[in-house]
Amino acid sequence: MRIELIKRPQRSALFSVVSPFIALGLTVVVGAIMFALLGKNPVMALYYYFIDPLLEVWSWHELAIKAAPLILIGVGLAICFRSNNWNIGAEGQLIIGAIVGSIIPVMFPDFQTWLTLPLMLLMGIVGGAAYGAIPAFLKTRFNTNEILTSLMLVYVAQLVLDWVVRGPWRDPKGFNFPQTIQFSPAATLPEIMPMSGRANWGFVFAIVAALLLWFMLSRMLKGFEVRVLGQSPRAGRFAGFSSSRMVFFAFLISGGLAGLAGISEVSGAIGKLQPTISPGYGFTAIIVAFLGRLNPLGIIFSGLLLALTYLGGEAAQISLGVSDKVVRAFQGILLFFVLAADTLILYRIRLVRPVAKTMETAPSPAPVEVTHGNA
């Protein structure tokens, strides 16, 4: 008995939908094994991970706070990955977006009008996009590998952030803590429903961005261009589309959205700049993008799911005393199975009996009739 992968003539519509769920199922099974090996009750652990955070209204708000940057960045990355541009540096674009967006509340704290917040958000988008434009420029001009350049720029961004909060932007009345002054109310992203929890408008931005990009990808000529150039660059060139313009387009969109996520996070949930403003949203969003099948609508759901692993990780840490690194392990396992399960979209699995041997033992002059299926 042997397992064979048989190429399907067409993409399987069924498995395009089902494969993320298969991946999720396998992740839960392997996760349970992981908890058992850690000496924890796997049922309890999974309960704290996936059920407990959903039982209270305030934690739904927390879920929205965590999901917002994941979805914002995830849909931008979907455009990148669909067009075959591998932006791994969304974390850096998020940080630079947050820094640039914070220029107004930190350096001009007295500028408090209705314009303050929109300007901050705009500057966050511009900052993230400009930072994303660096690997795009390097790729189109010098043919460098954007995976490496965008990834390395993440560390540059982290050090820049570290420098500004410890150096020029440090709050003079902050008891030497490495952080900026608290943003004024005019520079703070309002909460959607302050009565029940602290989820802010960042989540609304995420949903709107996902819907807009979904419409662009599936209904507009620009989205067609993204898909053609990603799948088959030569056919894209034959269509008259420019691949270097597409590199910039993809990096500017995803960088801008990461920047928006950064400034939303800082002006919403945190309220100031500090050395760490993201628990790796820019990297987790890669998993979000793939788990959502690079489809902006799917990414809304996968973003919520990955947000749940963050919350669940915190809950499990408190209730069971497992390390917070378990969250990363969980996310890694999930990405692994997502990519593996995607094979089922293009291939189907067949179990093969060794045919040749059975024939050699049964020599007959007539053409051998081999049984079909599982006789």
């Binding site: 048989i6 190429k7 399907r8 003539p9 067409q10 993409r11 209904r219 507009m220 000529l221 620009k222 067609f224 898909r227 053609v228 799948q231 088959s232 030569r234 056919a235 894209g236 060139r237 034959f238 269509a239 008259g240 045919v355 040749a356 041997k357 024939m359 050699e360 020599p363 053409p367 051998v368 009739e369 081999v370």
Partner: protein, 525 residues
């Protein structure tokens, strides 16, 4: 089935195939195929594209595993599980698409496929001796990148012969050769036959098969439809067996008043530097295609046809705006969209990945080349695509071109090569372009579809368009062209009116002879 096989059982059988079946998904690529090859014969495997020839051969060479059935080698049942096993048994194969490293020498390429670890000098000496003894002179030290396609094929053949096979499988070997080079190859094959080696010869060129093959097995839709002696058949009767019905011949109406016709495509002193170390530079190409005519460009593969096509289509632009003129307007600096808007249409050689995006639906592939020219019909305000009208237009093309498919709007990769090509050509014809440039219109397309495409191109020209066809298939060019020019080493000869052109004259030009000069023997020692 196969009642005629028994008549040949007197000759000693080398390879026998019984009831071989291979299933891909729901498709029976090979369905209960019987075949036997005697020692010392050249056996033709005939069939249209998609008839199952490649699948059968891949099973014989161990690249695919049969679903059911039996292979007997010298009377013994064998399981050919990998190409290595096939080589050990004594089966060698020369593929249609070469697998050579251009930056390595011929001898190094040969050494890579032998796993005996012999020193390179020894292999080179052996290869040189063998190549001369078979009349296929080859310099083992030459760099593959510098060699012509015909010479590259020699490397493949020598590489195969060095493993002293009993059975040699040749897949469409003459598709890349000039008529003269093909003659040389036939001599070699006859020599091998005289030595008692067997050859399985895959081709769709019926004249060749009639000329050199002793027996033929004809496949259609995965099934053997007959075994025959090709010498007793006519090309028409063989074609009938392959296709299953009469193939319509192409009708070319006489060309009238061409002298007064307007020039729609003009190429003035087009030159192009090589883009990569192994691409061919174009030198001072001049050509005019007038309304109403079909001009054919012959040439052995790799003589600059691809570079020429890119330069005309605008995928590679020129610095001189007048180097390419479309409908009287300078187009040299325009990109492919700009040239399309001037009324030109292009069909590239590669279907999947160039002319069409494999994993996109046919309707999306329609948008691929027509989003600019049919902007009003297919794209609405704000860049929103009109999927309903695109879908309807795709269905119209599918109907006109008789594209056979399994779903209403399948992905391009799900279509057979011939059907996809019909769609890609139909996509451009549907626009009624003033200038149509086609590279390899019927490469790998079955006879029925090829006739359909050729007829459509002639009709487009007669309706007042200028049609330029680049092809390696001389039969095709003679069938459809009003004049034939030859591309050799990046230069283009003056077009020769169809009435004056002969296979021999064109063949000499393809080999690099200057027009009007005595041909020189191109064999370097």
């Amino acid at each position: 089935m196969g009642g005629t096989v028994s008549a040949h059982h007197d000759a000693e059988t080398l390879l026998e195939v019984r009831g071989l079946t291979k299933i891909f998904g729901t498709l029976k690529a090979c369905d209960n195929v019987d075949l036997n090859i005697a020692k010392g014969e050249i056996h033709a495997l005939l069939g249209e594209n998609g008839a199952g020839k490649s699948t059968l051969v891949k099973m014989l060479f161990g690249s695919l595993e049969p679903y059911s059935g039996q292979i007997l080698w010298q009377g013994q049942p064998v399981a050919i599980t990998s190409p290595g096993v096939a080589k050990k048994l004594g089966i060698g194969m020369v593929f249609q698409h070469f697998s050579l490293f251009e930056a390595l020498s011929a001898a190094e390429n040969i050494a890579l496929s032998l796993d005996d670890g012999a020193p390179i000098g020894q292999i080179a000496a052996k290869a040189r001796a063998l190549s001369y003894s078979y009349g296929l002179p080859l310099d083992p030290d030459s760099l593959v990148g510098d060699l012509s396609v015909g010479e590259r094929q020699r490397i493949e053949i020598i590489r195969c012969l060095l493993q002293t096979p009993q059975l040699i499988i040749l897949d469409e070997p003459t598709s890349v050769l000039t008529p003269q080079e093909a003659d040389k190859l036939f001599e070699t094959l006859e020599r091998l036959r005289a030595e008692g080696k067997s050859i399985l010869y895959i081709s769709h060129r019926l004249e060749e098969v009639k000329r050199i093959c002793d027996r033929a097995t004809v496949l259609r839709h995965g099934k053997v439809v007959g075994h025959c002696n090709p010498r007793e058949e006519t090309a028409a009767s063989l074609a009938r067996m392959m296709v299953g019905s009469e193939v319509k011949s192409v009708v070319r109406a006489p060309l009238e008043g061409i002298a007064q016709a307007q020039t729609l495509l003009e190429i003035n002193g087009l030159s192009r530097k090589p883009a990569t170390p192994f691409s061919v530079p174009l030198t001072n190409i001049r050509l005019a295609v007038r309304a109403g005519e079909v001009i054919g460009i012959a040439g052995v593969a790799g003589n600059g046809q691809g570079e020429f096509f890119e330069a005309i289509s605008g995928e590679a632009r020129q610095s001189d705006a007048a180097a390419v003129r479309i409908r009287g307007k300078d187009a040299g600096r325009l990109d492919i969209t700009g040239r399309r808007l001037l009324g030109a249409a292009f069909v590239p050689e590669e279907r999947l990945g160039h002319g069409a995006a494999p994993r996109m639906k046919l309707s999306e592939n329609l948008l691929l080349s027509r989003h600019a020219t049919d902007g009003k019909a297919f794209v609405g305000t704000g860049g929103v695509t009109k999927s309903a009208s695109i879908y309807n237009a795709a269905q119209r093309i599918i109907e006109v071109m008789d594209v056979r498919k399994s779903a209403p709007d399948p992905e391009a990769a799900a279509l057979s090569g011939g059907n996809l090509q019909k769609f890609i050509v139909g996509r451009e014809l549907d626009r009624s372009p003033a200038v149509m440039v086609v590279n390899q219109p019927t490469w790998g397309v079955d006879a029925g579809a090829a006739a359909h495409i050729r007829q459509a191109l002639i009709e487009l020209a007669r309706a007042g368009s200028a049609v330029l066809v680049i092809s390696q298939d001389l039969d095709e060019l003679f069938e459809i062209s009003d004049a034939i020019a030859v591309m050799h080493n990046g230069t283009l000869s003056a077009p020769m009116p169809a009435a004056e052109a002969t296979l021999e004259k064109i063949g000499l030009l393809m080999g690099g002879a200057e027009p009007g000069h005595a041909p020189h023997e191109g064999e370097a020692a």
